[in-house]
Subunit: 460 residues, 2 copies
Amino acid sequence: MNQHHSQQIHREFQSLLGTRYTIDKTIREAHAKDASYHQGALPEAVVFPDSNKEVSEIVKICAKYNKPIIPYGTGTGVEGAVVSSEGALCMSLNRMNRILSVNPSDRDATVQAGVTRLELNTHLAKLGTQLHFPVDPGADASLGGMVATRASGTSAVYYGTMSDNVLGLTVITADGNIISTGGRSRKSAAGYDLTRLFIGSEGTLGIITEITVKLARLPEAVAAAVCAFPTVDAAVNTVLKLMDAGISLARIELLDALQMDAVNKYSRLNYDVAPTLFFEFHGSPNAVAESSEIAASIASVNCNGDFRWTTDDTERKQLWQARYDSYYAALNLRPGSVGYVTDVCVPISQLALCINTTRALLDTSQLMATMLGHVGDGNFHVVFPLEPNNREELAEAQNISNQIVDIALEMGGTCTGEHGIGIGKRCALEKEHGAAVNLMRAIKNALDPQNLMNPGKVFL
Amino acid sequence: MNQHHSQQIHREFQSLLGTRYTIDKTIREAHAKDASYHQGALPEAVVFPDSNKEVSEIVKICAKYNKPIIPYGTGTGVEGAVVSSEGALCMSLNRMNRILSVNPSDRDATVQAGVTRLELNTHLAKLGTQLHFPVDPGADASLGGMVATRASGTSAVYYGTMSDNVLGLTVITADGNIISTGGRSRKSAAGYDLTRLFIGSEGTLGIITEITVKLARLPEAVAAAVCAFPTVDAAVNTVLKLMDAGISLARIELLDALQMDAVNKYSRLNYDVAPTLFFEFHGSPNAVAESSEIAASIASVNCNGDFRWTTDDTERKQLWQARYDSYYAALNLRPGSVGYVTDVCVPISQLALCINTTRALLDTSQLMATMLGHVGDGNFHVVFPLEPNNREELAEAQNISNQIVDIALEMGGTCTGEHGIGIGKRCALEKEHGAAVNLMRAIKNALDPQNLMNPGKVFL
């Protein structure tokens, strides 16, 4: 882009957005990357639109001047989906944080993309709806970001992923059109499922600005428990038995011994430093009692002693907060480190073998690594706290991660259960989907012929 | 296409498929249309491939000679998605009827597209898996057809639609490539969701040849009940109360008085000729007892007398068979008639108003019309048994249907809950999704640039 264009675009953004267009270096630095080791260049500028109309105008200006746009939510991703590049415009959706409607009888709500899941849940509680938005990736991510990465997390085993909990979207397309996908009916067979095409598209097909989500009833009763095991294998086998028995689990999380140590230190807790399962049961008081009793009896065969129950709401929240903080707790084991996280998901019958093979791989390495997972879905993570800019460590983590992906794919699994492709999994996507990636590319080209929507992400 | 090409293509198909390529008129006639009033021209030929390789070869021949392909399952659709056109090739998937794998621990199965849902369920029972494929549109449709139309039916309120129950697909693309989408893991964030793009694409983006489906556990306990009401309104209000109370219903179906009369006559039953709800409860014995008791107490406020329980398995199957036969029962009220079916779905809070407004519309017409619906989803149908080739009747049915669609869209609903667009809802799709249809068209053009995959369907 020549100097002249650069000045023109500067003027156009200023006139459209005033101070909500900025080239301030600190702000650009704060929008250059996500929560992981992935490095980003500084964006040329950051914009903070607050309406569909403004997003549309920004997209049109970018199309005119051939300027790439990187949509930005809370920056809590870990695959580099929001890392910036030279000359790109970062579009923060964080001013688009209005809850547009809540329909208790239909159990749905429509929000702007910048609303975070906790903001929505706080609002639902204030309204006294007895409803909640159940998808829970741990981080207080924006719903736009959660849509963009097809997020899931601890509660997906019971409530499903973003794919299951979104009814419709408003999207600004690459030519600046404002379109609506889906709707408010619970099902529809009206044409191609654009909603689910945009879910997981990581900003590469258009800017997601509004989301209609399904809401779930708050469970009448909740019980949570923690249970330590002598080995990871014993814990995973317990999970398989529970799943096989059809026990209704709202969450079932595995943390290995080092991750428990990290959690204890970071959140000042005193759990056993041993492979541990965190459980949660939702439902009617009878159903919760029934499920949790059966679960306890199955778990007791392999575990170190008893279930540690946490029926108290505060204690339960503390427990899950510790689980949510796991990533930062792992990084905290090595102060100043940056995180590299793997994310495979396999059919549940393959989970024990996949985790054991991964454990064996980790044992051949000097890298510090914790393991944790949403094991009811067959999804688990290895967190490597890496020294920043240490190429050898990064190469080793990448090498191990590639091998874990190969193992998972061999088992019919996927290279990413919930973190997305970003820039970190582009090779893995090719490995996993082969010729199907050409269809994805064809769709990308059709919907974004100038390649301005988060270019370089998802595809090599 | 000139004579020379015509002979060449004939020779190529014969050499590839032998007698599984046919120009027999009776067979072509049997593949010209679906189960509705929609008229089709005779396809030029019908092919019966039995492998991905053969489908791929057929697609490549068609691409070479610019010949449209119409994939055909069981022909049980009602929106004309499989109606043929002059010069088109009909591709029946009914020889691709092998069950390729069943994984009980992962609760999934992979089948060829021609396998019907009852064939799969019979197979699962024979294997003693205690699993079933729960999506149930009534007709014993092929799973390929159910994927293509994003089918749902009576059990969607509990088990979800095809969108919720498919993990992955094998698809033959418009250039003859064999690709896989999705996989066997329960969740994935790996790139665009091609699986859900093909679900509901009605054969316009490629030929679906294999499907990996989720399986559900057979419920430990099942209870079914029938309950008659003085008015449709009383029945619908009962549904709203049940949904609002969060009662776990596996099915909840509404049939109006005329539809009940039709069912009685067609299936030789003796139900009250009154608006009626059919219920089914699935779960543990305790959960079923709990849910059905609460449901009975809520329903009893408005209903004509008591729940009529059918705990006996044979009686229960008879009850649901009567419900499944509803469409043919309605046509049977007027022997020789052809069916025109509406299919709107609205947010549940709007259902009573939408049904009442529809009822008022029907009352202004002389056309015979029955009403029935999957009311737990907000989805209902009007069936018009029409005199074949009677243009006035067809125009009147279309006019009423258009008005029902307008009402539903006004309420935030959709023009089709489960039957798809085919040729019957193309205008409605434009009304419902406006500019978003341009994105669908762009995707169609990108994946099928020659427009040979079921051309003329979904889009005007």
